[in-house]
């Protein structure tokens, strides 16, 4: 829970200056983040820190994908909202945005926890050996890969259930989104076909 709060804090401080410009953007998805639900209830689109200030060109008709996030290594996507967006398309967009946020939260948490515990482990081992964290040249000491292997095994075993649950949830979301994308694609193809046919009839 502490890590989650820390992560939320990081996002908030990172995006504070972003908020005003995003509120005026049409292209920004309006989904809420579960993490920041308790602090924003005005209904304004709340952008998280993982997005930079990037604003796609207004004439662009496609989604945009950004560089990997620092914390989660996942690439954020800014979804394009077409003028005549159908409810199905809106549902798809919300689902994708929500899954992206959920994924980002999990992996940011995971990576932060991993780094933190790795540092603690190294610190503990070095202390047991009677060494400081930094050597004479000021560089951080590292352990050998065999010593680190103990930590890697421990980390995996500790997070076994969490990973299994994430896996299940991720597969479920992935399937649902892909099915919905298929439906949207068929829907669009059908619309294009009927639109082309209607002038003839």
């Amino acid at each position: 829970m502490n890590v989650k709060a820390a992560v939320c804090q990081l996002w908030r401080t990172y995006h504070q200056h972003n908020l005003p410009c995003f509120q005026t953007l049409r292209n920004v998805c309006a989904s809420r983040r579960t993490c920041s639900a308790n602090e924003s209830d005005s209904g304004q689109p709340e952008r998280t820190g993982k997005r930079s200030n990037f604003v796609p060109v207004a004439s662009s008709k496609h989604d945009w994908i950004g560089p990997p996030d620092r914390l989660s290594n996942l690439r954020p996507i800014i979804y394009h909202i077409p003028e005549n967006e159908t409810p199905l398309e809106r549902q798809l967009r919300h689902m994708r945005q929500e899954t992206e946020d959920w994924n980002h939260q999990f992996w940011a948490n995971q990576n932060l926890t991993f780094s933190k515990e790795k540092d603690e482990f190294i610190h503990m081992c070095l202390k047991a050996k009677g060494l400081n964290r930094r050597d004479e040249n000021g560089r951080k000491r590292t352990l050998s890969s065999e010593e680190m292997a103990v930590f890697y095994k421990d980390f995996l075993d500790k997070n076994c259930t969490k990973h299994a649950n994430y896996n299940k949830e991720w597969y479920r979301r992935n399937f649902t989104i892909t099915l919905l994308m298929g439906r949207v694609a068929l829907h669009r193809a059908w619309r294009r076909l009927t639109r082309r046919r209607s002038p003839v009839t």
């Binding site: 560089p67 995971q110 292997a149 980390f155 995996l156 896996n167």
Partner: protein, 453 residues
């Protein structure tokens, strides 16, 4: 497996990397502590040239006393014709094809080395943000890029290896060589493999993003959408399996479908749940040569199973050695691999199966797959890989794991080649000890047997 990361330059801070230059003897050898110091003192064209050979390969090296997983670029030793190279030493490092360097900033474009490293910390926020903004890409499918994207999506090099093993299986079958059937079987196997690999990447997007080895895959980078990837997989898988089932024979089609299922629905999820994924993966690797054999003969003969057993046993020294150096990434990504959770088992299994290869080679003549010379000629390479596996078992380190992995890369093609050269001829006067019931008679048949049973 051997992807050249042409799009990245990594930070060079190693104190021990020296370079040798051939062209400009007047400029002398380079004795700099790092490449960026060198590039600062030489004209642009030198840097360009150095970049080219610089980007050729990535290496993992020792840094001081500790072993780090960071990959550093190595300067190619250009030629021996140098006047003053007494104190320029090219450090011998080995190439680990599967490890990607961790860039200074993710997705950073190619920059001169001066700007990286410590300069990165001093980069003003505005410039950093501007650079990050430039990295936003429109999610538009570029037709020109599609072949490359599909190649990466289907892991074309792995697919090529799979097709090679299937072709070897076909060639080892004791039937006359039918080029049409051979081509159809190879094509069908290739398409099935493409489908399986695409689905695998579709499932693993967030995990691939977090591992250095896999973070440049098409779905991770958003070059195509997940729906597109699934459609591609279906477009490869359905024709592939149908081709095998209808144009070759139903047994081969069944094996192809089974392999796709095992790989996508068993191996891929199991990677995160249990270490048994390695054994399932070994079966997945063993099936293609069996498919090649059944494409030729239409039956599951002991010879087919022996070929499968070769591939099955080979997977363990290959994969266990590879996974030994990726333990940090596996741990962070949540992959349950033997090398992380059961290291002793990992080493034991690699050794066991390397020794098993020797035993399997002896079965070759017993099953009339090969002549009696095969166990003898394959003994040197089998002994060598067993020796490396033994060293890995005794003292598992980065170095011994790397050596074993590299050995496995050439061991398999050599083994297949030796199998083919020692194949028992159908006109062999010794005759088979046990003739499998559905295989053709040894005398040259009047009409060739039809594999399309």
């Amino acid at each position: 497996m051997y992807k050249t990361p042409c799009s990245k330059l990594t930070v060079l801070v190693s104190a021990g990397v020296f370079q040798r230059l051939a062209e400009n003897g007047t400029r002398g050898h380079l004795c700099s502590r790092s490449l960026f110091q060198f590039s600062a003192s030489y004209p642009r064209e030198w840097i360009t040239f150095q970049h080219l050979s610089f980007l050729k390969r990535q290496y993992v090296i020792k840094n001081g006393g500790g072993l780090r997983q960071r990959a550093r670029p190595k300067q190619e030793p250009l030629s021996a014709a140098l006047e003053d190279h007494d104190d320029s030493v090219v450090r011998q490092v080995q190439q680990v094809p599967a490890i990607r360097p961790v860039p200074a900033l993710p997705g950073a474009p190619t920059e001169t080395p001066e700007r990286e490293g410590e300069a990165q910390a001093k980069e003003p926020d505005a410039a950093l943000e501007a650079r990050l903004e430039r990295q936003w890409k429109e999610l538009k499918v570029d037709m020109a890029d599609l072949p490359g994207v599909y190649a990466r999506l289907s892991k074309i090099k792995l697919t090529a290896l799979v097709v090679t093993t299937a072709a070897a299986g076909y060639a080892m079958a004791p039937v006359p060589f039918d080029p049409a059937c051979f081509l159809l079987a190879s094509l069908g196997t290739g398409l099935s493999s493409c489908a399986a690999n695409s689905i695998n990447q579709y499932f693993e997007v967030p995990f691939d993003s977090n591992m250095n080895r896999t973070k440049n895959r098409p779905l991770v980078r958003g070059q195509i959408s997940p729906l597109h990837a699934v459609a591609f997989a279906a477009a490869c898988g359905v024709p592939g399996v149908s081709l095998l089932a209808l144009a070759v024979n139903p047994l081969t089609g069944f094996l192809g479908a089974l392999n796709i299922f095992l790989y996508t629905c068993c191996y891929t999820p199991l990677k995160r749940l249990s270490i048994t994924n390695t054994w399932v993966g070994a079966v997945v690797g063993a099936i293609p040569p069996i498919m090649g054999w059944t494409a030729a003969t239409g039956a599951l003969d002991p010879g087919a199973l022996l070929l499968g057993a070769f591939l099955y046993s080979w997977q363990f020294p290959h994969f266990n050695a590879l996974s030994w150096n990726l333990r940090e990434d596996y741990s962070r990504g949540g992959y349950r691999m033997m090398s992380v959770t059961h290291p002793a088992l990992c080493k034991r299994v690699a050794l066991r199966h390397s020794l098993g290869l020797i035993g399997l080679s002896c079965l070759g003549p017993a099953l009339d797959l090969t002549t009696w010379t095969f166990p003898l000629v394959s003994l040197p390479i089998n002994l060598y890989i067993s020796y490396l596996a033994f060293r890995f078992h005794r003292h598992a380190s980065r170095d011994s794991a790397r050596k074993l992995f590299f050995c496995s890369l050439w061991h398999l093609p050599m083994l297949l080649l030796l199998l083919l050269t020692c194949k028992r001829s159908r006109k062999d006067p010794e005759g088979p000890a046990l003739a499998p019931p559905m295989s053709p008679p040894l005398v040259p048949p009047v009409s060739p047997p039809t594999p399309h049973s």
